[in-house]
Amino acid sequence: MALNFKQETFRDDYTYKNSEEAIKRFPFPFPEDQYMYSVNIEPHTKGKPGSVYEFPFDVDEHYVAECKDRAITLEQDAGRYQALPHMMDAQWDFLELTMESLANDYPEHFTLTKNGSSWTWENRPLGIHDTFTFGDSSTLPREPLDYMGRQVQGDFVLLDQRDETLYADAGMVTCQADWSLAFNVGMSWREWHGPVPRATELGVMDRALKFLLNLQLANPVRRLNWTMTVNPRLDTSPENYPYWGGDRNKVNAENVSDLIHLRVELQSLFRLPRSNAIVFSIRCYLISLKDIATYPRWAKRLYRVQKTMHPDLIEYKGMTKFHPLVVEWLSQFEDGADLGIGTQPE
């Protein structure tokens, strides 16, 4: 598969756009007409060719532009990368997992050559070619997570497992839906999920934790999460809230289908071999309402889900201001048809 990497932006003039193929493979997250939090975890197994689930780490047409956007964010705020000192083994685990996956799944773009512990990494789309000693940080331009985190789409958190829980002890987070790694680093599972409404009461978080503590090597898992964002902006961080929060006031009935983007996170979790830590990968996919509506099945489904959303969740996801406009715009597609179960576009 030859990927055609786009030149586009996720800030200022927002030139980000999905191609027809990208729309068709979009990970639409609503299999039913209603939505509530659940432990919707499934095995992260190989999906259909061309789908976002084909490989452990999906590389798509936005790869180069996303890596560029991440570099800008890190340049402005080095605190988006955090690693507590005891996480170095997990960092090397992460580097190995991502390099091997990319080289194996996208050989036309990435090559990993191993000569004992001397490894050579080529990333052709980004023009990177480095030889280093595996396990020796001084031979890499940056710490392993900092180095490879910049070369894979999505945010990454490394979770250390001890005391029967998981601690967010390292990460690179630049395309997050309003949470701060600098604030959360070092937190236990229960602490960092504290602000999520209703989930704790439903017991969802405890069940998910129990499941993840038993996550096995070579059997990664995944789930989808979602929210909505004004503009195709990756960096909707609390850190930069003063710069993007005001965009919520710009939405009106005329521009709602261009400005509002469904933001879907493909979250996947991998057990790591040496450190026994877990990689929590949070890959963000953005699509405008207008592009969703190119598939009427999706538009109808989205309408029904949004119309019946719990107000606490609308508030938590930061959608209060523009949510009625979204529902109103989507209502034009409703025809009462039975959509059945499933997330397929047609």
Binding site: G186, M187, R190, E191, G194, P238, Y241, G245, G246
Partner: protein, 200 residues
């Protein structure tokens, strides 16, 4: 505040109780926290060595040093301010041995200042016994400029670093010893909700 006074990520602070299996004890108290230290000695006077550091002036000016002096005459160190106590703590930590137990009583800000000082010496915060006294005031970490504003009793506060007005989210970070502060009027500049004292 919607869900009442409960903050899910706020650590649970209990009353101080001696760990009988310790090889030595270090008690750190500020202001009214001195009372928590006195209560410890009412439980018993441990057989192992005990050191007490006490700062007289915390949020409220209550001084228990005279009583403490009678109870721990040899190993009591009294300071005027919390900062002086923390400086002394930093200088004595290298001399402490395995088996040491640490007890802290004071404001939340003081408790987590102590946790920060002892962490480089290998003391995890789970191994520090903590009692919240003095005040419910919070330290607030500005997520924008990263400054920490201390002793905040209100729902909204002006950042001591960037001077933005911050809404204090009910979300606590042990690593920073502070709650998250987020610009309150980013979406509608100048429009502030009512400022209320909720954590006196």
């Amino acid at each position: 505040m919607e869900r009442g006074y409960w903050i899910k990520s706020k650590p649970v602070y209990t009353s101080l109780v001696w760990h009988e299996k310790a090889t030595s004890h270090l008690v750190l108290a500020a202001g009214i926290g001195g009372m928590a230290a006195l209560k410890l000695f009412q439980q018993m006077h441990p057989a192992q060595p005990v050191t007490v550091l006490y700062a007289k002036y915390a949020q409220m000016e209550v001084d228990y040093s005279a009583t403490l002096k009678k109870i721990v005459p040899d190993n009591l160190h009294v300071f005027k301010f919390e900062e002086d106590l923390l400086t002394e703590l930093k200088s004595i930590m290298p001399h402490m041995r395995m088996g040491l137990r640490i007890y802290v009583a004071g404001s939340e800000g003081f408790i987590w200042d102590v946790a920060k000082v002892v962490k480089p010496f290998g003391v995890e915060n789970d191994h520090i016994m903590k009692e919240l006294t003095d005040t419910l005031a919070r330290s607030v970490y500005c997520v924008h400029c990263k400054a920490i504003t201390r002793n905040v009793t209100t729902n909204i506060v002006q950042c001591c670093g960037c001077e933005r007005m911050l809404f204090v989210r009910d979300h606590f970070s042990r690593n920073l010893g502070a709650y998250m502060g987020l610009m309150v009027d980013a979406e509608s500049p100048g429009e502030l909700p009512a400022i209320e004292e909720i954590y006196p």
